[in-house]
Symmetry: D2
């Protein structure tokens, strides 16, 4: 971290700043130029508060050189993280497809979809029991009954389950869920992130609608700082000015995350585009860019789906997608386990 001082900053005030930084465990490298004086902070700057430095009136500007995240940083953890869950390994070199309905609607719906996606090659069953909906008047999910149906589907198909948790108050209720999903709207629900950090459950952390990659990794850091290193990052499109599609899949996020972090990266093309026919081309791009998996919405009868029907594949469309996914992950030298 570099602190650029204001011109003519009183020496005494500068010394006080240096002392303050040293007390935070930093070494300070003082460098006085003809017009600009710079303090170079050496040490673990992830705990240094930029805002506080900026407020000091001898400070002209503060520039971070190293990233503010540490546990999630590949620089400090060069090896790829592999997460073992439900008999599978998620991470670099493997490729998993998490499929299922946007929301669990009935026993028949869920079992039909679960058995079909398993037959087509999905290795995880996703499905929403508690649904974060923009409108209070939209279907909010089957809640506890939905969780029970997911457990039943897991029992019958053997597929581990992924479902969204919306509050730290639900942790007990989600005890036996295989992967806890944090939705885009809760990416910075820090109470929830901290609570998840105190467990050792795999967490699928979706990117916020307009979160930078760094903010996203800082949310992963919240979970990891608590001791839980089982974090899977899931890109699901970001908000831009474009109106023709719901969100813009940020394909650059895959190489950026793979370079800056060691955590697994999953792509959700269903939410990104919001249109069923775009799922396949985006899935192809995700595989080629280096993603470790896909999250796909599948419904046995999309036109009657209680949520996100427009972006859900039907069972046949999903089976066809999986053929293409297999052909391409083989080309990349990856497989499900």
């Amino acid at each position: 971290m570099i602190i650029i001082l204001k011109q003519n900053a009183p020496e005494q005030r500068v010394q006080a700043l240096i002392d303050d930084v040293k007390q935070q465990g930093m070494t300070v490298h003082y460098s006085q130029g003809a017009e600009t004086t710079i303090l170079g902070l050496i040490g673990d700057t992830s705990r240094v508060d930029e805002d506080k430095l900026r407020a000091n009136d001898v400070v002209f500007d503060v520039r971070r050189i190293s990233e503010p995240y540490k546990a999630a940083n590949r620089r400090f953890h060069p090896m790829d993280t592999h997460i073992s869950v439900g008999g599978h390994t998620i991470g670099e070199g493997f490729f998993h497809v998490l499929a299922g309905p946007c929301s669990v609607e009935s026993e028949e719906q869920l079992l039909t979809v679960a058995q079909s996606v398993k037959a087509s090659g999905a290795t995880f069953l996703r499905g929403g029991a508690f649904k974060p909906r923009t409108s209070p008047y939209s279907f909010q999910g089957l809640e506890a009954d939905g969780l029970a149906l997911l457990r039943e589907a897991r029992k019958i198909t053997g597929l581990p389950i992924v479902t969204e948790i919306m509050s730290e108050a639900q942790l007990d209720e989600f005890e036996d869920v295989d992967i806890l999903q944090v939705g885009a709207r809760n990416m910075q629900n820090f109470r929830l992130l901290k609570a998840l950090g105190r467990t050792n459950k795999p967490v699928l952390l979706k990117r916020g609608l307009s979160a930078t990659v760094e903010e996203w990794l800082m949310s992963a850091e919240y979970i990891m700082a608590g001791g839980n290193e089982n974090v899977i990052l899931c890109e699901r499109g970001v908000r831009t000015f474009e109106t023709m599609i719901r969100n813009n899949l940020d394909i650059s996020a895959v190489p950026l995350l793979k370079s800056h972090s060691h955590l697994p990266v999953i792509i959700d093309p269903s939410h990104a585009a919001g249109i069923a026919w775009m799922v396949e081309p985006l899935a192809r791009a995700a595989i080629a860019a280096g993603a470790d998996g896909l999250m796909i919405e599948v419904h046995n009868n999309p036109k009657a789906a209680l949520c996100d029907g427009a972006q859900s594949l039907d069972l046949d469309q999903f089976a066809n997608l999986m053929k293409e996914v297999r052909r391409r992950t083989e080309f990349e030298g990856k497989s499900a386990d």
Copy 2:
């Protein structure tokens, strides 16, 4: 709501769609043109799920004519909402300044700031006890101790207090807080919104970093649908491509909200710009645009503030700002009560 049908949609399927919509309590107006057939839905469409309609394969497109929010909608509630809290009235025609430190740091700090902002004309004391910070390594607030200090400051100064609640699990702890603030990152924490809807506490709902005005009003609707109509909207800048400032204050939101909703609108220029010297010009713009109040960060020693120091005014700067605010709110014919 208008449903545009696909060309050559089978009559039987269209009839099924019409029946389905009618069962939701809508009247359907069928209109067949040479090339386009349109269904006009008449009734309370706020409960109709657009996504579900879109997924129906006889549907080409769905267009909403009326807004999806109802309780927050001026069309159905033409009179301005006035909220009585702590002996004050918040809403159209009045103007309040909510001032205080970003975070409560100590008894001395809080009391010094509280007494000073009161003397300068603030009518509410704001201060964070539980702080949502991007980094897990940043100061997270004094938590319960911070709340206790806020209560003490209220007792001494008589200023009602505003502080941020981060989870529905904290509701009991915040029982006697005068205005519960929902932060930008929690604007779509629907569990929290629903819980707040079951109380009758005034809620200051900050706009999410990239929430549309409609999404914001839908979050207000979550609280109001639960029975709590005491919602104050707080604009605090939105995320754009601009890098010179932290957020872009969306001044258009003031007339938009005043036109589409009856709820009070407050502006937070401190968070919008993130720079202390910009607080005053943005505050002037907010007053002129028709806002009902301001939320301002004030610290007795900004350069030592544990959070947001760069955007905090010191006590003198705030006193000067208030002179300007008074001069201008008088011009607009508004006062604090």
Copy 3:
């Protein structure tokens, strides 16, 4: 196009509106519901001015059903456009790589790069002679001398050349350029677009930094409406809130354009990311998503490049990229001609 009328609109005024629309060659389908009256416009609505309709005070809202572009619209031109240029065919089923330096700097530089990229498999030589730079103090290109060097490089290598035109006043000077590039900042320089429409030269139209896909196609429409159908669309990243990279490659644009238009689509991963090491993963994604080609910045000595050095590949990196490109385009069943 659907016009939704205001409630209680005076009959006479509505009739005047209907007459006005009919005079523009439209058929009008009048549909009166209990609460909403709708006019359905049937015919070629691409020439109807939405803004003008909206300004009519009996109009509540106007919604387009069909796209405002026509010549660029796949609905009216279902067959893919194939552009013959320099002995090659650009369009669906083929895959071309346009490579070369950001700016032409010297004879030695250009010939070295041209011969090397040809040997590696590029089929077009790109290079800037006139450079649009954000700062007036940055290198502005060799201008006419740069064009002369491009012609020389074409003569020696046989590679057709692609270079940027910045004004309609330059058309004569660019007479023998094989593909005229319109840069992102000029995507809505309508004088230039109209002038290009009066030629029959292939035009590579880059997407504006924050242009929607529809606006981009409308700019293509400007060229095509003038009679020149040889338009190639080039996605080069859009502006978002992300700060870690220069632009976000909009991979969704590939399937969107392929679905809505018949024009060839090229991806420029060099400008999108602005970082050399990200070119390859983005190129892989582009191929998989269905792009018809790539535009790549290559320099014999990137660290001395007069522009965009940070995103340029050196000759070896480009050779390696091309091996990967070939392996992947073969997988997709595409080749350069």
Copy 4:
């Protein structure tokens, strides 16, 4: 400017970099820390090419401390720029309203509007002769005939005229126009900016749809670097994710520009919102934030306007707006001359 070197950069390569920078007239301040080595560049860094430095493989990062614009920079020109045009002075301390139709449509329309806005207090007549329209099928303006009508209106009313120039090829034709407007879509049409820099005509430079404040000032710098210092900046709303209005007026731009530059700042609330009823509240905010003037679209019959009717005020609405403007500019202590 600070250059942060990579760890273990070979000494010889670093020395070559230092020599290169010195040859550009910079003084270099070398500062070696335990882990980070930093070069501080002192001198006129506005001509230093960041991209080129970044491409050097011993460079880890480059951070600008001073702004890349110089002629437009208040640091180097502390006094406010005042532009004399048509008997008026534009700049800090004054307040002008530039009003008129989006496009010149007929002699009767233009003269009616011109005489009326003059009577209401406007000091400049605006009107488009050459119109940049998104669609090639929309009305493109009366072109040369429109210019002739503007000259006639000036002769009759005495109001100086403001109209948009779209290409450097039009300079002669616009010879006697009082203020040349550069539209948002041409903000980075560098050929046009350079040509305007060679004249001494006042230029009203609109901000690009998603241009940062710095990029905007760099475009002003293009004109000023050529010798023409008569640049007026015009904010007209930026593109965001919001869909309820056309553009988001960036009110923060006023204090930012006033602080970083000495150039006059005008606000165009008509284009920002795109809705007539929002013009007044945005105009009020602009005045309070410190703008030096307003640009307002006025039409004698908005519902029949050939462009932008929805956002145009009619003659009475404009007269009422001007009463409010006068009341408020008096409060700010400003007047038209």
